[in-house]
Symmetry: C2
Subunit: 354 residues, 2 copies
Amino acid sequence: MVTLPFIISDSLDDQSVGASVVTIKDVARVSGLSTSTVSRVIRGDSKVKKSSRAKVQKIIKELGYRPNINAQALVSKRSHSLGVVIPQVSMPFFSSLVSGAEGAAKETHHPVLIVNAYGSEQAELDAIESLQQSRCDAIVFHSIHTREEKLVELAERIPGLIFINRLIAPFAHRCVWLDTNQGAQEATRYLLENGHTNIAIVTLQTPTQGAQAYVDGIKVALNHAGVTHQDLMIGRGSVDDMEGGKEAVINLLTMGAKFTAILAYNDTMALGVIHELIKRGVRVPEDVSVAGFDDSLIASVSIPQLTTMHCPIEEMANYAAKLAIELAAEPMSSGRTHLFMPHLVKRDSVKQIN
Amino acid sequence: MVTLPFIISDSLDDQSVGASVVTIKDVARVSGLSTSTVSRVIRGDSKVKKSSRAKVQKIIKELGYRPNINAQALVSKRSHSLGVVIPQVSMPFFSSLVSGAEGAAKETHHPVLIVNAYGSEQAELDAIESLQQSRCDAIVFHSIHTREEKLVELAERIPGLIFINRLIAPFAHRCVWLDTNQGAQEATRYLLENGHTNIAIVTLQTPTQGAQAYVDGIKVALNHAGVTHQDLMIGRGSVDDMEGGKEAVINLLTMGAKFTAILAYNDTMALGVIHELIKRGVRVPEDVSVAGFDDSLIASVSIPQLTTMHCPIEEMANYAAKLAIELAAEPMSSGRTHLFMPHLVKRDSVKQIN
DNA sequence: ATTCGTTTTGGTAGCGTTATCAGACTCAAA
DNA sequence: TTTGAGTCTGATAACGCTACCAAAACGAAT
């Protein structure tokens, strides 16, 4: 980082006293009505004469009045804002998530608070607590490290808390999740259809719920197709990024696995795999096919473009945000499940063999 | 989007009345002191006896008390939160920006509000207004479409408003920006050093401030090196994404431009260029070298990995956030400029010729 | 003991909004 | 004209906190 120390000698400020903000009282005074009536108009309460409503609305517009949401939050004990807790906004998957949630929140004029909570249960719990301090009542939470038991506790305490991309059985109706197992099956079937039977898996060393479902799904599809794997070829990476992908494929190679295709737990790992293979002179997809999972931005940007399972994370987050806002307004103890399906996106990293 | 309508019949909730939140009064009562003293402890006011302070802090911890920030904001007329306005979180460049700002805000316990403002001046102004309504006083604003005159107006009104990646001359000390011109020069020099003299530019149809600086920088470097371009080869795309990149290179090709290297205004456009070239059987970098700008995530993901100018957007945003928070606390009418330098990242998309 | 400065404390009045209740105004029916 | 049932409106008390001022409490110096 380079910051030039060039000083600009600026004139002094004119000390202009910032035009004091207009309050509900100003609107009341100007309109000749009481704050109560103005408040009713703001909140869309029906018990107000048409002419009064019109007058108040006119004055509000003229004065550029905006209710102070802090005061509203104070008295109503609800902030009308949406919190989003994710590991890292800068990762494409999560930034899509945030984007989806932001879209939903904007529709209902909810401000969006985001908190990065990376790497540990403590970070995740701290994030939730900081949102609570802001009296944020609707929360979309992408938890990775927090124990289910803790999450149950949180869900009991916070009616507007929605889990995304993770299933907490006792609160299934508060989870917006993806059928990773089915997705993995579909990806596997696609490889099988293309003649691949020697399929290796690239996944995480310490599998998350999703990673587990992914591997399970692949096994189901392989079994169902009658592909007998005396022992499954599984390469594991310690992290879910490109490095993890490289690590996993190196493992696979050093254990002498023979495969014509690789299924990777996510796009980033898949790209790590591809990079490592190409570095070793293995062509993708001519020698080995590779499929990812997520269909994140990088999938369509890479060369070859990645065949992958599209995970509708933006729509899921949009849905989750609406649900959170809804439940924050009126808690419900049960309801339907919110299950989304990934679907296959065929691009260039998988090739037909035989 | 597929949502399964599977209904879970859940037991009724136990109607547990959410343990009412502890307030400053509770702390005061339990500690046997007044709310004033407790408030002093919270705010770190020095005028409080050591023993009292210790006692209050103990009780606060025991009761799990957290100040209600809405009440604090109401009385202090400042929200102590940081707003971030960007075109789209889901774009890697901006999600890095958000991430940097979030990091800075977390240090000072400022919640982070994000607002997408895509595509128009109105969207950007609406975003700022929505933050104002939240009484958000520190704002980092990545403006693209708003006229400078409007931005000056905003800057005058909001002391904690910082512009990122755009220079507003009258408020230079409130801008955290990048020397794109120098960066473009450096990229150009690198191509020249590698023997390229027929260099084409890929940029935007309607150039933003940054795009203009980029093209200017290239011209400067070319002139300086004595490379005479009777007429510069410039291909223009209507948008700054892969499609825009493709569009621009197609323009270049159809106008019959002869080049051995392309400088693209950003990484995404550069990748669009590469995709289009490869599609047409032109090898990168063997036949044509391509360099990008930004060093966003995708630059290291593609094959070939992209040679590009690293733009330290995360550090810039971190710096901008700190500045915004600082200025919101105590406005200043002048100060130093905050200029960051991009630097070259050599990867695989540029090849030496001759 | 009295005085004085200094440190420490508590009481109270808001901040801008909403909820609640009671009061005032309609208008039709008696 | 009175009555009653609506419809509409306004006064007021919170919400949880901080700012301000005044009152204690404490020593040290007289």
